[in-house]
């Protein structure tokens, strides 16, 4: 217990790193997912095929393998570029590699979420918008997007919870997230169980807070929607 108190500042710093990785990744994933959904729903066949390839590969390869490929492979590619332009050596930042990998992997999951949500908005709503004289952009911003978001929220919430937990693997490319801090603290104090359990508690805290936040958002975006009571 004393050890836990002694190391709590670095553990909390690690938790902050975890949170930063998760938030940056989810931001990237949301943007990628929106673009991916737009591509999948587009009438241009090559674009659809490329997006299909992207979502299949990203969901079929383990996140750790992808992360090691981005981290180590990215370094090799970077070295080639550096050699070519005779720059000074640049090291790939594990934070960037982690965010890039997790963001792009979950971008594939969000692509499916958003695609389903866009399709769930009834066409009559969009036609009504056009009939009122709104431009295509106005229909998108006022009608399609807000309603799509309501359908997408449960999926976004689930993906976020999975994403948050998958950030733990960034510890394997040397980023000092809370899992790695616990690893180091556990070794030097000979109390690994205590520290890993503390990390579990911190993750549970984060997921509990997220679930609460998602509930609030869900209520906000479902204003005026009546649920079927069984």
């Amino acid at each position: 217990m004393d050890a836990l108190i002694e190391y709590s500042p670095s553990l909390l710093a690690g938790a902050w790193v975890t949170l930063k990785v998760a938030l940056m990744s989810v931001l990237l994933a949301l943007v990628t997912g929106l673009i991916g959904a737009a591509c999948k729903l587009s009438g241009f066949l090559p674009l659809r095929l490329w997006t299909m390839l992207y979502t299949t590969v990203m969901r079929g390869v383990p996140d750790l393998v992808m992360m090691l490929l981005v981290f180590y492979g990215g370094q090799v590619l970077l070295n080639v570029v550096i050699d070519h332009f005779h720059w000074d050596f640049i090291e790939i930042d594990p934070f960037v590699a982690g965010v890039l990998t997790i963001g792009l992997i979950f971008g594939a999951y969000f692509t499916e979420t958003f695609r389903g949500a866009f399709l769930a908005v009834s066409a009559g709503q969009l036609e009504a918008g056009r009939a009122y004289g709104m431009s295509g952009w106005q229909v998108f911003r006022r009608i399609l997007f807000p309603q799509m978001l309501r359908f997408a929220l449960p999926g976004i919430g689930n993906n976020w919870l999975v994403l948050l937990k998958s950030t733990a693997i960034v510890s394997m490319i040397g980023l000092s997230d809370m899992t790695r801090v616990a690893d180091q603290a556990g070794r030097s104090t000979h109390q690994p169980f205590t520290f890993y359990l503390a990390v579990c508690v911190l993750y549970l805290l984060m997921t509990a807070l997220s679930s609460y936040g998602l509930g609030v958002l869900m209520r906000r975006y479902s204003a005026g929607v009546r649920e079927t009571q069984v």
Binding site: P62, D63, V65, V76, K165, T179, Y196, C200, Y203
Partner: protein, 244 residues
């Protein structure tokens, strides 16, 4: 320097092969344990008795709310913190010495993890049993246990196939973290090949493709399983049933 040198892969094929075998073992045994342990636990999870259902709910909450990597490290590295555990190791206790083995620890952590998800999937499926079926079972004079055994569990197992297929694929991919506890699974083999040849693309792209193929095989197998056990839910073929 060449970016993709096939001889790196062909020269390490036996290592990849052993890694594949390790990945399949870890995934397979963990899933087997998780599946069979989940059936009684799902029944307890739905028990009206809070004293029975709450511990199961707490177990699934913990394992579904924390990363599997941390669970694995907690089991493998965490075990040595306890004095009685170390004493048992020195005494050569047959059960506790297992917690020194990375292979056992990985199976332990993966098994408990997939079991927790499977309990919730199965319990959710059991909750959705049509009420009439239960009433019919009761009317036939079945006890609660008989109804569970004959009606609720079989039909819930069928209906959970699509959701469970996701869990199986996630377990396969999740097993990639086994190299964190010195096991040489597919990912571990790729990491070794990478560090020996400094060839990240060959190593990681190759195992990535293997994982992708394994995923396709699993998806295909589950399609077959759905055709076999969920045939009654398949959309009717065009033209079928028109004559009536």
């Amino acid at each position: 320097m060449e970016l993709f040198d096939l001889s790196v892969i062909t020269g390490s094929l036996p290592e990849f092969w052993r890694g594949l075998w390790m990945t399949l073992q870890l995934t397979g045994f963990a899933l087997l344990f998780g599946f069979f342990a989940a059936i009684p636990l799902a029944v307890l999870r739905l028990s009206p008795n809070r004293l029975v259902s709450t511990p199961v709910a707490a177990y699934t909450y913990f394992f579904r709310g924390t990363p599997m990597l941390v669970q694995l490290l907690l089991v493998y590295y965490g075990a040595s913190q306890w004095e009685w555990m170390r004493a048992a190791w020195e005494a050569g206790h047959p059960l506790w010495t297992l917690f020194r083995e990375p292979y056992f620890c990985a199976l332990f952590a993966f098994g408990l993890n997939t079991c927790a998800y499977t309990v919730e999937i199965l319990a959710g499926s059991m909750r959705n049993t049509p009420h009439g079926e239960l009433e019919a079972a009761k009317a036939m004079g079945m006890t609660r246990l008989k109804a569970l055994q004959r009606i609720v569990i079989p039909s819930a197992l069928r209906r959970m196939i699509p959701t469970y297929s996701n869990e199986v694929i996630l377990m396969l991919q999740g097993s990639a973290i086994a190299s964190a506890v010195t096991l040489v699974d597919l990912t571990g083999a790729a990491r070794n090949v990478y560090s020996r040849h400094f060839a990240p693309f060959e190593a990681f792209v190759f195992v990535g493709l293997i994982y992708l193929m394994l995923t396709f095989v699993l998806v295909g197998l589950f399609k077959l399983a759905e055709q076999r056990w969920l045939a009654h839910l398949a959309p009717r073929k065009a033209g079928a049933g028109r004559s009536s």
